[in-house]
Every structure is written in structure tokens, then in C-alpha cells.
């Protein structure tokens, strides 16, 4: 018992060089790269665990972590449960791609919002349905039943996709709605991105939604989606960043679903880091607050260099500016923390 006490005393001194964050598993690979480089250059240890966006938010509310990361902004109920105001800083952009298993198609499948909603509502059940054929002239679609693959676990990716579907389909909005876990009208559930990817790969005629990185890493085919301006956009780093190049609201909580950006991929979303606006609270000394703010500042500037190699889209200039303003509004005991201009 004595040695345990000594051990904890010894490590207490180092705790101001430690930051703890949790949340979105989507961000995990990017963060691991970012925090590793940050540790090597600045000596600050950041412990980030991917327990899910909802987990990140609730741990932040419980004040067991210094910052959270989420693919979804806090909803009204979470806001009311939170002891103080929470800032949302966009740090990267993610995209949900529609991957399918139709090896007989030589060209990429083209899909429109209405067809997507029809597929996932279970209304379009065959691949050679006229609605799909109309979008893909000159392509012979097979006479095969459609197998929908969706997530069985709660996930920010589901939230992004269902938010998009709710936006473009009134039937979906009233019938199913948006959330990290919904009552899917059709299809099979796979656990995690790899579960859905596995389902798609093993079932001929399957279509499902996964993160871009998964599709790229596993060399899976994914479709072009028609965006608001009528163009069929392939999800790439460029088109996802373009989706984020829109005027940003002051609180950073912009939705990129069905984006207005002309070359933007329509099923994109920001991923935010969450922190308290007033950094003076229990177990949170000033050094930690300063360390946190400088870390976030670095993340939205230099940290963005690590994005594309890992298939993440770097922030658009608008988003970086909005992020800077939000970070500058963070205070410790009423005084702003970031005192330099980067």
C-alpha cells in the first residue's frame, strides 16, 4: 500500500504534462499520428482513447477527461446536462462512402439522394430497378436482390449518414430519423466499419456505408453521389475538403450534409474537439488549460499536414479561421488563454 502511495506521488508531479481525451473512433488514427509528433516536438503526452463520440461527450460532461472528440455536435439534452458551456472546434473532415459488391460493373456506380433513401428504406429491392438504371445510362445492372449493410453498433458514422438521409428524404426523417443508432427498416448489421466492410465483401449485391479510409485501405468500390448542384461527386480528399469550404457559423457547428459547395461530396461531416469554454474547474489547473489550448491550436494548423496520408481531409481555410476564433474565446478564470496570433 505504501509503495502504491509512493508511486502515485511520484507520478503526480508529471501530471501537468498529461492530457486525456476520448471520443470518436474515426479520429483515432489521425490523432495517434498527431499526438505522437506533438510529443516528439513539444514533450506533452496526450492520451486519447476511442470510446465513441457519445462516450467522449459523456466523459467530458462527467469531467473525467480534458477534451472530447465527436463526429456529431452535442444535442440539446447533452447541452442541458453539461455543467458549463462547451466549445466545438472543427479539427478534420470525414466522409461516409457507399461501398458495394457488384464486380460485374466496370464503371463506378452513380447514385442520387432519392435512390439512396429508396435503397435504405427497403423500397428499391433489385439492382436493375429503373430508378438506378436512370442514373447509370449504358450500364447493364444485374438482376440481383439488394442487400443493405448497416452498422449494428452505435456510431458517429451512422449519425452522419442518417442525418444526410433525413435531410434529403422526408420519408426517412419521419419514418426512421437520425441518430448514432436507428431502427433500420432493412438490411443486416455489422459491428464496426470492418463488420460492414466484411458483410459487403462477402455478399454479392450488398451495399453499405463505411468511412473513406476503410474503403481505400480495403480497395473496395464506392459510388459517386449526386450533390446539391447536380454533379456526381466521387469521394476524394479534395472533394471532401471542398465540402467543408462553406461559410462557418461562429460556434463551429456547421453541418456539411448535402453541402452547398459545388464540388463538395455531399455526405461529409466535420469532426470536432470539445472542451469547456471556462477552463477553470475541478482537477484542471492553469498549466493544463494552457497546454490544451496550444495543442488544439497546433492541431488545426501544423497538425493538418498529417491528414491526407491517412485519408483524412484537411480543414478548409474557412474552417481554420472559425476554429481560431473559437479557441481564442476560451478563458481561464475569465482571462483568454491563447495570447499569440498564429
Amino acid at each position: 500500500m505504501v509503495s502504491l502511495g509512493m508511486l502515485s506521488l511520484l507520478s503526480c508531479s508529471g501530471k501537468s504534462h498529461h492530457l486525456i481525451g476520448a471520443g470518436s473512433s474515426f479520429d483515432n488514427p489521425l490523432f495517434s499520428k498527431m499526438f505522437y509528433s506533438y510529443f516528439q516536438s513539444k514533450g506533452m503526452k496526450v492520451n486519447y482513447q476511442s470510446i465513441g463520440s457519445g462516450g467522449g461527450i459523456s466523459q467530458l460532461i462527467n469531467r473525467t477527461i480534458d477534451f472530447g472528440a465527436s463526429d456529431v455536435p452535442m444535442n440539446r439534452e447533452q447541452d442541458s446536462l453539461s455543467p458549463a458551456r462547451v466549445l466545438h472546434v472543427p479539427v478534420t473532415v470525414s466522409a461516409v462512402v457507399l461501398s458495394y459488391n457488384l464486380p460485374e460493373l466496370r464503371d463506378t456506380l452513380r447514385l442520387s439522394p432519392r435512390v439512396l433513401a429508396g435503397l435504405f428504406l427497403g423500397r428499391i429491392t433489385q439492382w436493375n430497378d429503373t430508378a438506378i438504371a436512370a442514373l447509370n445510362p449504358g450500364v447493364t445492372l444485374p438482376d440481383l436482390p439488394v442487400v443493405i449493410a448497416h452498422r449494428s453498433d452505435g456510431s458517429g458514422t451512422t449519425n452522419i449518414f442518417t442525418s444526410y438521409l433525413s435531410l434529403i428524404s422526408a420519408d426517412w426523417a419521419s419514418g426512421v430519423g437520425r441518430g448514432s443508432s436507428v431502427n433500420w427498416p432493412a438490411g443486416l448489421g455489422g459491428k464496426g466499419n470492418e463488420g460492414v466492410a466484411g458483410l459487403i465483401r462477402q455478399t454479392h449485391g450488398a451495399i453499405g456505408y463505411i468511412e473513406l479510409a476503410f474503403a481505400m485501405q480495403n480497395k473496395m468500390a464506392f459510388g459517386k453521389i449526386r450533390n446539391k448542384t447536380g454533379r456526381f461527386i466521387t469521394p476524394t480528399i479534395a472533394s471532401i475538403s471542398a465540402a467543408a469550404n462553406i461559410p462557418m457559423p461562429a460556434d463551429g457547428k456547421a453541418s456539411l450534409a448535402d453541402t452547398d459547395a459545388p464540388d463538395g461530396y455531399p455526405i461529409s461531416s466535420f469532426s470536432w474537439v470539445l472542451l469547456y469554454k471556462e477552463q477553470d474547474y475541478r482537477h484542471h489547473p492553469r498549466e493544463k488549460a494552457v497546454g490544451l489550448l496550444y495543442l488544439l491550436d497546433w492541431m488545426i494548423h501544423e497538425g493538418q499536414h498529417y491528414s491526407s496520408d491517412l485519408y483524412y481531409a484537411p480543414l478548409s481555410p474557412n474552417a481554420v479561421n472559425a476554429g481560431e476564433a473559437i479557441l481564442r474565446s476560451a478563458t481561464y478564470d475569465g482571462q483568454p488563454i491563447l495570447t499569440h496570433h498564429n
Binding site: 470510446i51 465513441g52 463520440s53 457519445g54 462516450g55 461527450i57 459523456s58 456529431v72 444535442n75 439534452e77 447533452q78 446536462l81 449494428s152 453498433d153 452505435g154 456510431s155 458517429g156 426512421v176 430519423g177 437520425r178 441518430g179 448514432s180 443508432s181 436507428v182 431502427n183 433500420w184 443486416l188 448489421g189 455489422g190 459491428k191 463488420g195 466484411g198 458483410l199 462477402q202 455478399t203
Partner: protein, 320 residues
Amino acid sequence: METSLQAPVIPSPAVKDTVSIRKRIRRSFRQIRMESVFKQTLAIAGLLLVILVLGILLTLITQSIPSIRLLGLKFIWGSTWNPVKDVYGAFPFLLGTLLTSFLALVICIPFSVAIAIFLGEYYPTGWFADVLKNAVELIAAVPSVIYGFWGLAVLVPMVRALEARFGVDQPLGVGIFSASLILSVMIIPYAASLGRQMIRMVPEHLKEAAYGLGATRWEVIRHVVLPGTKSGLFAGILLSLGRALGETMAVTMVIGNSSILPKNLFAPGNTMASVIANEFTEADKTVYLSALIELGLALFLVTVIINIIGKKIIDRFTNE
């Protein structure tokens, strides 16, 4: 066997030194006191376990209150699980849990008993037995995540081929059957290990008496060894069942995760534990979170009921 509190042993008159007599008397009294202290410590250990379980129950109940208040009994009978509309019905998961666990148990019992007999009776010692024993314990050590991945990569395609042969209309491979298969592999060690211990401890003279009467090996096992180990075997089987009820990771990867009531054994389904594991970290509403904890409470109560029934069965068997 109780040694009651009685007067210490009076030393023989040959001992002349009164100091050493008093020392011995004091030591005896101390030992007797320590005995009761020790007995109390044992009872405290037992009590601790009961308090632990009661504490868990209490925490589960207090955290489920928002959901209980909203849904009431509809939670158990409802078949729709819709987090967006706050409609939570756990019946499909209940069915999935019970189906997979009992099917897994039924599949695993012959294998567990076989291993127990093999290691306890035919080959209790020797390098060969050690290898097998280590192998069985290794089964328990493989992380459930690995079972899940292996199941998805190897077992599911095999089951899919099987389903195609049987003419099932949507041969997916994932489903209740695959989950039960994986579970049955995972729960073998508990019944096998406990069973083996029990079988090894059957006294030799009982078996030798039976052999002396001309019994064959099988008859000795059937009529001497197994009856004596019934309680231990059943305890092991209950442990295995408990493990099956609570297993999360491996099941969640191969069960298909469908919230619709499964129509047959090959259909995809879902279990209570896997729903909790899947959705807990992302639950973004208080009611949602408390519905998931209520699911944990339901699983807890299912385990209680099954255990009480199991104990009644064991009692009936061992007192026949």
C-alpha cells in the same frame, strides 16, 4: 465438525514450571479465539460476495429508473428497438440470448464431459494429458475479439455453405447458429476443467471395488465415477452457461445484429449483452443510456432465474 469452546488441556503433573503452564493455557485460549475470528473472516468473505451482487443490482436499478419510468413493462414484451423515437422493446434480444446460450450449452456438454472423463479417468497424468489440459485452458484465454474475427473469417463462410446446402432462402452465414457454435467452443473449458477435477477426486477404492465385482470401464464410469461427481459437473455446466449468457464480443460479430425477431435458427438475431456493448458508448440521451442499463438489469434477472432453476434441478439430481 465443531470443536466447541472447552477448558484448555490440563498439562500433566510432571510439568513443574507454572509459568510455562500459564503460557500454554494462554496459547490455547488464543488459538480458540483465533478460531472464531477465522470463522468470522470466512463468513465475511461469503457475505462480501452477497453484498457485491446486491450492490450491482442496486446500481443497475438506480441507473435504469428513467427508462423504467418511461416504458414500464413494455420493455420486456416490445419487439421494436428504436433509439430515435425512444421506443425500447427488448424481447428479440431476450430470445436471442436464451436461444444462443442454451444451444451453445447443449452443443458443448458432450465435448466438455468427454474432456473431463478423458483427462480425469483415462489419462490423468502424463505429458499427453498436460498438453490437452493446457490446450483446454488456452481456449478460455483466447480473447473474445479473436474468436469474433476467426468466426467471421472462417466459421461464417462454412455456415453459409451449409445453409446453401440446406436451401435456406438467405444464406448469410451470420446468425443465431453461428453465434451458438462460437459460444459453445468458448464455454467448453469451464465445465471441462471443473468436471475433470471432480472426476480425478473420486476415491480409488470405490472404483477398485467396482472393478473387483467385474465391471467394465464404461460401467465404472457410468455407475461410480459420474454419480459421485454430479454436483461438481453441474456446477461446471452452470458456470459455462453463465459465461455464455454474458459473452459479448465474439457473439456480436457473428450474430447478424438484426433487431427483428429471428424466424429460425439460421436467421440473424441479437443478444442483450451485444446490444449493450454495441450501443453503450454512443448513447447520447439519458433515456437511451438508462434503457441500455435496464437491458443489463434484465440480463442480470434472467441469470438469477436460470440459476435458481438450475440449483433446484441439481438438488433433485444429487438427492435422488
